[in-house]
């Protein structure tokens, strides 16, 4: 009783340079020697290995579907281990042969099929673009957070400068205007800031500013404003 197996052979590129059909034949000979039969065999790819195998950095992959008798695989393995053409192999049991493999084997058997010359052993493949979704996600989150913080800071600065200007001018009517302007800036800030702490800080500063506006004297208003700004800085630091 024989079963079908999927076999992947890593063929030494030196053997491929000597001739692909002969390299394929060398593997097929090992399989048939122990009572197996090659159903399909095709060149899967030629690529750089993730780590050197038998001091080779590149290899040609031969994908094959073979039938082996149930006691034949151990002998095949032993021969493949000794073989210098085959750098490494992987034999898996397979239910049935995919139709695609049959077609590709037929295409490879055609006369016009040519195997490209394998590149030098130290040649490097084109760098693959790795999609690192989690890392990208973290980065965008960090950037979003940073930009939000910047917005809040800007709003705070604008409010401070507005208050200073109004205090320097003095006058009741203007201080009333200042009130409204401050109230607006406070509203804007509260809309932009999300955290409860930030909101409470704004409320405090708004209270301090309204007290300033009520005072008639420009000097005292300035002094209070300076105090308020100090307070705010402290709160921001905290």
């Amino acid at each position: 009783m024989s079963r079908t197996y999927e076999c992947m052979f890593l063929i030494d590129n030196d053997a491929v340079r000597a001739g692909w059909p002969s390299a394929k034949e060398a593997v097929g000979a090992v399989v048939t020697k122990h009572g197996g039969s090659v159903r399909t065999a095709r060149r899967w790819d030629e690529r750089r290995l993730a780590y050197p195998i038998r001091r080779r950095n590149r290899a040609t992959f031969l994908l094959s579907y073979c039938d082996f008798p149930s006691d034949g695989i151990a002998n095949v393995r032993r021969d493949l281990d000794i073989s210098e053409t085959v750098l490494r192999y992987l034999i898996l049991s397979a239910g049935e042969i995919p139709e695609e493999e049959v077609e590709l084997t037929r295409a490879e058997a055609a006369d016009e099929f040519t195997v490209p010359e394998p590149p030098a052993d130290n040649a490097v493949d084109e760098p693959e673009v790795k999609a690192e979704a989690p890392a990208a996600g973290r980065n965008t989150y960090g950037e979003a957070k940073a930009s939000k913080e910047v917005v809040v800071e800007e709003a705070g600065e604008a409010a401070d400068s507005g208050a200073v200007e109004v205090a320097a001018e003095g006058g009741e009517a203007k201080s009333a205007e200042a009130k409204s302007a401050e109230a607006e800036s406070a509203e804007e800030k509260s809309a932009e800031a999300e955290s409860a702490e930030a909101e409470s800080a704004e409320a405090e500063s708004a209270e301090a500013e309204s007290v300033e506006a009520k005072s008639a004297e420009a000097e005292s208003a300035e002094a209070e404003n300076a105090e308020a700004s100090e307070k705010k800085e402290q709160s921001d630091e905290a």
């Binding site: 890593l10 690529r47 290995l49 993730a50 780590y51 490494r88 693959e128 979704a133 989690p134």
Partner: protein, 80 residues
């Protein structure tokens, strides 16, 4: 005015960053599919845990087996 510090306890452990492998329901995880498998290994070549891949236990076993086969034939690194 005293103020409580932001942050602190009560938020629980940070959720592990997930990766989306986009494995279809009828897809067979094959060791030759290096495009898929390379997304399921970490920067040092370690297999990413099920907590992060968020696939079923059966799928994770298939994935693990495929990665190990790919490593054997030099398609994926063991380390690095």
């Amino acid at each position: 005015m005293k103020r409580k510090k932001a942050g602190g306890g009560g938020r629980g452990r940070k959720r592990a960053p997930r990766i989306n492998l986009n494995i279809k329901a009828d897809q067979v995880i094959d060791y030759k599919d290096t495009e898929l498998l390379s997304r399921a290994i970490g920067s040092q070549g370690q297999i990413i845990s099920r907590r992060r891949t968020t696939i079923s236990a059966q799928r994770q076993r298939e994935l693990k087996q495929a990665i190990k086969r790919a490593r054997h034939v030099g398609l994926l690194p063991f380390v690095g």
